[in-house]
């Protein structure tokens, strides 16, 4: 029974989803144990950059700091960094106990559990897996994540090949998303908005920077993203339908792509090409799925019960938060974490 408070809600994963769940659980008086495998909390979000240009552009990355602060001060709960899930004991009524293992030492400990929340997030698509963009081989090809790391370290000067010179940047959308050949025939939800924000940031920070965005379809969910696109158009960002399949390094420096403009094939030169890489299921999803008996869906993300019951796993007592059940943007993750906490409390209410 979940209502027994000697037992905790186990949260697997300390990225923004896990932190959001932890925060809301503790605000509702439910003790948790958060287990994070790596050596730090915050996941991908922690390494991404602020996209503000004179004002906040709602990339939502700084949210992770607010969550982390609240979670760090939670009483009656614990955070185990450098630990992973090793086994569970469940009964018909749900999860009973879990064992967690310290990644370094292998030492195990057992925790009385009332429920388990999966918040293991996603892996970024590695463009090396699908050779054609020359990522890792051709200088100047980077991923949206790499670009964020550069912005975060305030190293944008490094982007221009000639200091203070012009900088032509292209974004390639849907890299590793909407691609049936790799089993990723879904939209990763976050990358159109992220690329447009990054484009605005580059134009703001780097004088003489021109940006082109090559897309298949732009996904602009949310009420203000459409305005973001208009702003980008006003600031001179070119939006071009169709993503070039190949990048060629030029002898004189720079990168050449063939794009189709007004029905004509045109060769264009860019200094940097940013691959807007999609979200893939976490590499540990399969192992965790086995431990918990929580099934994965056709894409490799955690399956949920129904369309409307989208945070409960078919496995009893297992809840799924954030991008490990479906690719998500940060606001989606925050809502999903809230829905998980709501489902846990509703289940307690029902049981009592």
């Amino acid at each position: 029974m979940i209502g027994n408070h000697d037992r905790r809600v186990i949260i697997v994963g300390g990225g923004i989803a896990g932190l959001a769940v932890a925060r809301l659980l503790s605000e509702n008086g439910l003790p948790f144990t958060l287990v994070e495998r790596s050596d730090k909390l915050g996941g991908h979000t922690k390494d991404w950059a602020c996209m503000a240009v004179d004002e906040c552009k709602n990339c939502f990355c700084c949210l992770v700091f607010d969550y982390e602060d609240t979670v760090a001060s939670c009483r009656n709960s614990e955070i185990l960094v450098g630990y992973e899930l090793s086994s569970v004991v469940s009964s018909d009524s749900g999860i009973q106990r879990v064992k967690v293992r310290q990644v370094d030492s292998g030492a195990e400990q057992e925790i009385q559990a009332s429920a388990l929340v999966l918040a293991i997030g996603f892996d970024t698509f590695d463009p090396v897996d699908k050779g054609f963009w020359g990522y890792g081989q051709i200088d100047g090809v980077l991923t949206l994540a790499d670009l964020n790391h550069i912005i975060r370290s305030n190293d944008l000067g490094k982007l221009s090949p000639v200091p203070e010179g012009a900088l032509d940047v292209a974004f390639f959308q849907c890299i590793g998303s909407r691609d049936k050949s790799i089993g990723a025939n879904y939209c990763s939800q976050y990358c159109c908005g992220s690329a447009i924000r990054a484009a605005l940031k580059l134009i703001h920070e780097v004088p003489g920077c021109n940006v082109s965005i090559f897309y298949i379809d732009l996904q602009l969910p949310g009420k203000t993203t459409r305005d973001l696109m208009e702003e980008a158009q006003e600031k001179g960002v070119r939006f071009l339908q169709g993503v070039p399949g190949e990048i060629r390094p030029l002898q004189e420096g720079g990168l050449q792509v063939i794009s189709e403009i007004d029905g004509q094939n045109v060769a264009e030169r860019f200094d940097r090409i940013v691959l807007s890489v999609g979200q893939r299921p976490s590499a540990s999803a399969a192992a965790i799925s086995k431990i918990l008996g929580a099934p994965l869906n056709e894409f490799g993300f955690f399956e949920t019960r129904t369309l409307f019951d989208a945070v409960r796993s078919p496995a009893n007592g297992v809840y799924i938060a954030g991008s490990c059940s479906s690719p998500a943007s940060i606001p989606d993750v925050a809502v999903s974490a809230g829905t998980v906490v709501s489902a846990i409390i509703a289940d307690i209410e029902k049981a009592s």
Binding site: H5, L24, E27, N28, G29, L30, P31, C50, A52, D54, E55, C56, F60, C61, C62, L63, F65, D66, D69, N76, E78, I111, Q112, R152, S153, N154, N185, Y186, C187, Q189, D217, L218, Q219, P221, G222, K223, T224, R226, D227, M229, Q241, N297, F299, F301, T306, L307, F308, A310, P327, P331, A334, V335, S336, G338, T339, V341, S342, A346, I348, E349
Partner: protein, 536 residues
Amino acid sequence: MLNSKLQTNTLQETRANQSALVVGNGLTASIVTAAVKSLGIDVTRSKFGLDSALLFHSGGRGPFEAFVRFLNEGAFRCETTASSTPVEIIPVEKGFVVTFDDGSRSEFGCVFFATEGNLKPIPNDLPDGVNIVTPGILKVPSSQSACFVLDYEEITDPSIGMNAMRMALDNQLSGGNSFVLLRHAPVQGMLGETLYETARLAGVRFLRFGNIAPRIERLQTSNDLSIKFQISIQDIIERGEDILIECDRVFVTVNPLPADIPIAFKHLLSKETDPLGFLIQDSVHCLTGKSFRRGLYCVGPSTGCMDLLETVFSASAAAADARSWLGLLEQAPSSSKMSVSEQCIRCLTCLRLCPHAAISLKSQPSKSSVNITGARCLECGICVAECPRNALDLKGFPEEDFVTLIERLRAQNAHDSTVVFGCHRSAGRALSEIELPEKVIFFPVSCAGRLSESILSATLLAGIKGILVLGCHHGNCRSKNGTDWAKARLDTMTTRLNTMFKDIGSFSYKTMAANESPRMLKLINEFLDSVDRIPD
């Protein structure tokens, strides 16, 4: 070690008087009511606005029948306990006092604004007989041809676009003939791509236009019962001649329209709109339906969200937050965070300015007094800094701390020092990753909004080189406009002091986020350089 930390804890009790008011007549209010009820919170639902269900289904290929069932589900059509409409809502210490149009008055711990929305009007350059896409299943007689035009005037909201795509698929599967004209195929959610693919495989024809929207004309027919349309479109993929389509029905998507804010909510909500007029700003602090007015939530179409699934999830998330809010209301001893002195003349400046509706007026037989709800107050200090009588102080971040700082600066004769006032949630956090240059004193504040003109000028007049204020970015302030207050005050101070003194130090205001430590260091160094450049 683990066990020593393990303590029992109970789910915070919600009291009977801690109930929620859900305002709205439609499906959204039903969804919110169900979500709040499922967490053991008492709900009163009050009438307001439209009762049509204007939520679109974007749930990918997911079962459409489930959607229809969901729409009709009895559980969500729960009884309206108050048949009256709220006419006044006032934040008080334990929540909100709501007055209804029948004269009754009740207290609620939290209030959900969950009214239905509207769609923009059909573009007026379209011929008669063109329909707009509304939620639900397309009921056209089979073997009709239907054309769905997305992104006609502006890019279509993805949930509305997907609803249209699904209607096209339904029509195709029931023997009709469907065309979808668009600029961007909407593929929201994990199954969006699958829906798009299924529609293509089923024979729905997709055509993609560029900057030039398709031209839609009505064909003259002898028999008025069978309306026919002709559409010409310049397809940017299959270039060449314009493509002509003839069809029986045309559906165009239009985006949501912000609704009027009812009078009862005006004082609470008029400042809670985004630039488009929808409720709730796109802000890190407003995710999951939270408004800056603590205890007041907005969910669904009034916030610009026309998506059924998103509304279901955000209602649940808001309910979980509301539950913790009710717990907080129960615990927090009133006004523990703030002191109000005898100096108060009840001008109500503080009440007007508090972004979180934490200040209320307590009427007492002898004399009324301002009252601070501890649970609501986020210690931004905006009220403290703006009180004309200096009657307020934050207990956790008292004025005394600033006085101590200023005295220390004077005593040290710190003319070569620079003070950086930084908001704790941005600069304060980024600080841990940088090493401050010499002679820089960092002073964290609960919010830049606490920095009153008097603190800023007194610090500067202590004889230091300069003051740099680091607030959160505009639009990212936890107290909404604390950072803007700091900027405005610095601006005023610049004008005032510069006319009086010549050789006082300089000051500057910059904004940043917690993940910008390298930039923070750069801002500080740039400020130091600019200060040094000023000749003595």
